[in-house]
Symmetry: C3
Subunit: 194 residues, 3 copies
């Protein structure tokens, strides 16, 4: 189940055309037993936060390590996504293997992503420490895992994204231009496009 | 040196009969040169925090990776403990190998356990960052490392335990019913037994 | 490009003669295109914070995993440094390999170092989560990675160092005696030299 959505640039955009990826990991959503809510919540964030023109590649896969891994590789190596986010499958249960699949494909682990996402969620629920979310780099793609529930997704991505544009600069991806009223991202002055 | 303690259910218990494990890791305590204080502090927490009927399996082993590992495997695979906690051996010294032994046996690392335990202890001492404590899952057992000193044990377990009952639900262990006045644990509403 | 600096003990010193190591990791600084600012900032901290007599071994290497690794091994195994700090090369870019080289040589990872350094920097910039800094132990040497910029170095080392003296005690290195007005380090009472 793959889908591409194209979004036009907004007023004031100075950024590049981006390719973004959303992979929903869920046994039930992948067979249509359940309507994916995580993927749409992430797409909604992208629409609110970005001034760029961008294309979102979406896919929904079951909780199987090989399938998640293959999709991450496809999104990174073939589609050339600047940023790929997953939703679902990061808990301690035996079927939860999204972090394992992500570790399989990343070349550099960025431990701060998991640490900060857990720290953010811990302000809402003590069970935040059960999440095994992580982030890392593969080639010119930044990849990170988000929680499954839309509320928890927005609590974390709204904050974490502040570091994403500069990260993508550093790994050679496109220039991300945020709507500052939604996401107050940070770049050193010398890296800001004017 | 192994020992089993049986504790009766308390009023209001809706939980299952549990099997818990405490492994004290200490060269000196294991040869009787020193009286273990960590193990009893953990048992005391269990008595205060749990309404369940439970059995505690206790063992004291020296700071040897193989012995700690074998005991963890025995407590998980043979005794079938829902939760196994260790105390001692998590520092930077060369004899401290409890985290190594724990990593040897867990199938899923839960990085939030170590992160949060260090963050909690950091409010008390700056040397909290020297602790290498970790947590993870083996089969249907949740395993995590606690500090060695009773004071530090209670500072961490009282807080960390808030995530334990739901974690044990997710990995297929028994239902843990906490005394809310001691430990304000969290489960999603749909997971609460009534 | 190696250099040794000798610093005399200050009044009130009860500590041992120390060997410290500073390794600056930078392609440009290593060929003289750029003047290293990170190394001198760390040396300045040592002079302010320590009462000990100490020798600082300094080296500047390019962003190459093998060269960083070999220098770390030399500083630990041959020079016998009690503490070795690196500066630079901890970001997500492809040339940034200091954490990889550090992981190659340490025998025990101390995850609290990276976690706390990122948490400290996060109070200043949201991109702190992009840093992959880590710390660990090799033989009797404590090794950890610092950021590249002098301001970020001082924000982190001034705080992190509070745990360093006791860590070095535990791994069998020299006794570090801090100027308490600069660095409020912590040791259990029984470990304080008088």
């Amino acid at each position: 189940m793959e889908k591409i959505t194209l979004i036009q640039a907004r007023e004031g955009n100075l950024g590049d055309r981006l390719k973004l990826g959303i992979i929903t990991v869920s046994d039930r959503a992948s067979i249509g037993e359940y309507e994916d809510q995580g993927g749409p919540a992430i797409l909604e964030f992208f629409k609110e936060a970005l001034l760029n023109e961008f294309e979102v590649n979406y896919s929904c896969v079951p909780d199987e390590r090989n399938k998640i891994r293959d999709e991450l590789i496809h999104f990174s190596d073939v589609l050339g996504c600047d940023v790929i986010v997953t939703t679902g499958g990061t808990g301690p249960a035996h079927r939860d293997v999204t972090p394992e699949a992500t570790e399989d494909v990343i070349e550099k682990l960025l431990p701060g992503f998991g640490e900060q996402m857990r720290a953010i969620s811990l302000a809402f629920v003590p069970t935040a420490i059960l999440s095994r979310q992580l982030g890392g780099v593969r080639g010119q793609s930044l990849i990170f895992n988000l929680p499954g529930r839309p509320k928890a997704i927005r609590e974390t991505i709204d904050e974490i994204w502040r570091a994403v544009p500069y990260c993508v600069d550093l790994i050679g991806g496109g220039y991300i231009h945020c709507d500052k009223t939604v996401c107050d991202d940070f770049r050193p002055k010398s890296a800001i496009r004017k």
